[in-house]
Amino acid sequence: MVKKAASRIYIGFIFLLLYAPIATLMLLSFNDSRTRAQWGGFTLKWYVKLFQDQGIMSALFTTLVIALLASLVASLLGTAAALGINAMGRRLRSAVMGLTNIPLLNADIVTAIALMLLFMRFVNLGFTTVVIGHITFCLPFVILSVLPKLAQLNPNIYEAALDLGASRKYAFYRVILPDIFPGVMTGFMLSFTMSMDDFIITHFTKGVGVDTLSTKIYTEVRKGIRPEIYAVSTLLFLVVLICLFLYNRQTAIQVKKQRIAAERPVEYDSDASSSFLTLSDPQKDVDPEAELRARRRAKGWKIAVGSAAGLLFAVLLVYSGMQGRSANEIYVYNWGEYMDPQIITQFEQETGIKVRYEEYSTNEEMYPKVKSGAATYDVVFPSDYMVQKMIDEDMLAKLDYSKIPNIKNIGASYMKSAQKFDPGNQYAIPYIWGTVGILYNKKMVHEPVHSWSILWDPKYKGEIYMQNSVRDAFSIPLLMEGHSLNSTNKQELEQAKDLLIKQKPLVQAYLVDEVRDKMIGNEGALGVIYSGEAIFCHDENPDLEYVVPDEGSNIWIDCAVIPKNAKNKEGAEEFLNFLCRPEVGVMNFNYITYSTPNVASQKLLPKDIQDNQIAFPDQSILDRCEPFQYLGPKMEAYYDQLWKEVKSY
């Protein structure tokens, strides 16, 4: 009895471990606050918004289509392979099994990049390449699920069927398939699950216009996940839960019936687990009548799978029809949560140009995609130093000012700042700008904050959040020591590295935009953050104040550019012109709270925001700030090396 109770408690503990995060995510889907750091009360609004969100719905659809297609093909190919492997001699067999294990043993990122290299050489990345990638990593799961079933099979029954006059085909479908079907189903379900969960392979093998839930989530991790994502995940989870529950219940009932029909005592069923999604193997040890029923059920399954496949191909045909690049369409690649979706809707309605919108989370993630030509976008939004790098590498198209008359709305001072990385303003239109500074919690920091050096104060050990990107991290010690944040002096950089290493024990974590959620949730006293986030933080948690230290800081400018390989330059120009409209700038500011360089928009904002020192700081503050410049491949590599040394220390 005690033993039984202990067992129950133990299972409960494991159960808790596995489901605590799931419960947390479900809870977050009902959270009224946009940030996951705070509980803002119960709401169902994200579920309503979810169904209006075209981006998420189409990502969900794409995810399901990819998963279905990949697991179906993998199941067919894998089952055939398993039958073949089963008939092989020992040596040949172990060679094939070794091959099968390769995708399982390789790090995902290696598999993903290897596949991308292959695809890029021969075809354009797109929807099909993702499916191929998924099939490749699903295949081993199918084979490894089916093989044990074949091993359990009594080889004589097939021969017996043939002896009794069954054709090979008939014998296979009526005798063999029902027995190995649970294994095939397991492989299918496992493939489906893995495909749904995959991010890395999808990311590297997808082309423009293909977005799955995982890739959407990944871009949002840094910016803070939108609550709609929790809602869609919760729904998906519940649907699967109910389906599997019903399926298991039905199987359980059938097994019971068969056992009664068989008039045999319930025995320990050694096969119960051979497929973990089905309760057990109902075809075992039962009388002919029950067997017949089981076969009929297997046939039912076949019909079900067949019709599902048919439906899928129909859907896919429609889908691939949608995929074709229509003449009047532009592909936009922007940072996560960096444009009011209303703007796109309005633009589409006004011009009839369809916008395909995709997101990335760092410059470095965007760069190889555009550079490799694996994906051709019409409008991209790189930051200052990345603009310079892309100009250096001849990746950008020159702007035609006559097609973008609204460019006059962009303030002269911003255009001038942009000349530091785009001489003559030939390629880039400033889109959003801001500063980098310290966000501090008044409740925890009781002294004036005016220097970067406070981030080295041992008093705040474990309460500091630093930026997790090379240049941002190094700019702080460089500025503190009175150097330029574009320093290429190796001695200065070594010194900066030593300072960062000295600071490391005090740092709670190196983050990017997640600093926002941590600071709102009172998880730290000081955080290095972008000014646009600071406004949002202050709104959510009034104890948070933002300051640009006296030593100066980085003024960053994210720009809109047209890549040289853009397919619809006219559409892109029209889009840029639209973005430079005064009222569009206001919409964007209200949505993302990052400062706009559009002076005509600035004039339309309420007075208190125009005077807000975070959004639009005085010239005296801006004079202390400097934009990043691209330092060339050698210097970038040097920075990266130093940063790795800091991180590994």
Binding site: G84, V266, E365
Partner: protein, 275 residues
């Protein structure tokens, strides 16, 4: 011969597929790993693993992956024993419970642990409510280990459970009839018969734990550099694919070696799959 089920030739579409989409891409990786940015042959990217930064990252990854694997094993084995002793007609349900969490996105599940483990997070709120000491492991190696154990536990439980439930009950009864005690039955029958399951489980947990970079980023506060992070950074940020490829090749060889060693313990002819 004519009466055997299946023919080796049925494997050919699969082999063709694997050739094009696994071996050829791997060839690309080898090419990148053995060349410099200008395309000339070099071993520099392979030797780079000996750099102190990379060596330290590799060592840390090995240690953390090993700890996680052992914890997974220690948690899974008793669980499998308990599950096997339970009533049969609950098993299917119980097993799918362990797979179900995978239907929530992996990134989201790992992020949720941040909410749970934060200093003012859910767990600490509960602990404080009961006047218990706080748990402050977020952004430490302990949190990374927790994340690995959480994410990969099902891959250990299922093969062990699978191996265990396949043991013929008659064998156990026979042993008991012949006077064997519970201890002897476990030592002489159950344990040896579950070794293949454990080997599968160890592989399925150790390999992804060794190469992960997402878990260390999200739960380690990016303060702990694992070899997966190094490789990821070379590909995604550093723009140095040659170095990334070289390091992955070394890692791959290492993984294969580890697997070869573990396979020595597996005396079963086939090994037990995850399922």
């Amino acid at each position: 011969m004519n009466n055997t089920l299946g023919r080796p030739v049925m494997t050919s579409p699969y082999l063709l597929w694997m050739l094009i989409f696994t071996l050829v891409p791997l060839g690309f990786m080898v090419y990148y790993g053995l060349t410099a940015a200008d395309g000339s042959f070099t071993l520099q990217n392979i030797i780079a693993m000996a750099h102190p930064v990379h060596l330290k990252a590799l060592w840390l990854s090995l240690v953390l992956a090993l700890i996680s694997t052992l914890i997974c094993l220690a948690l899974s084995y008793p669980l499998a024993l308990i599950l096997c002793n339970m009533k049969v007609n609950q098993n299917g349900f119980i097993i799918f419970i362990f797979v179900l969490p995978m239907w929530m996105n992996f990134l989201l599940r790992t992020l949720a642990w941040q909410n749970l483990l934060d200093h003012n997070g859910i767990i600490n709120n509960i602990l404080t409510f009961f006047h218990l000491p706080e748990l402050n492991i977020i952004n430490t190696p302990a949190a990374i280990v927790l994340g690995m154990v959480y994410d990969f536990l099902p891959f250990m439980i299922l093969p062990i459970y699978n191996a265990m439930s396949r043991i013929n009950k008659d064998v156990l009864d026979a042993a008991r009839d012949l006077g064997a005690g519970d201890g002897t039955i476990f030592r002489r029958i159950i344990f040896p018969l579950t070794v293949p399951g454990m080997v599968s489980g160890i592989t399925m947990v150790f390999v992804p734990a060794l190469t992960t970079f997402v878990i260390s980023d999200l739960l380690g506060g990016s303060k702990i550099l694992l070899i997966g992070n190094v490789i990821d950074q070379e590909f995604m940020q550093g723009d140095n694919w040659n170095l990334g490829a070289g390091l992955s090749l070394v890692l791959m060889i290492l993984v294969l070696l580890t697997m070869a060693i573990t396979a020595k313990f597996d005396k079963g002819k086939e090994g037990v799959g995850l399922w």
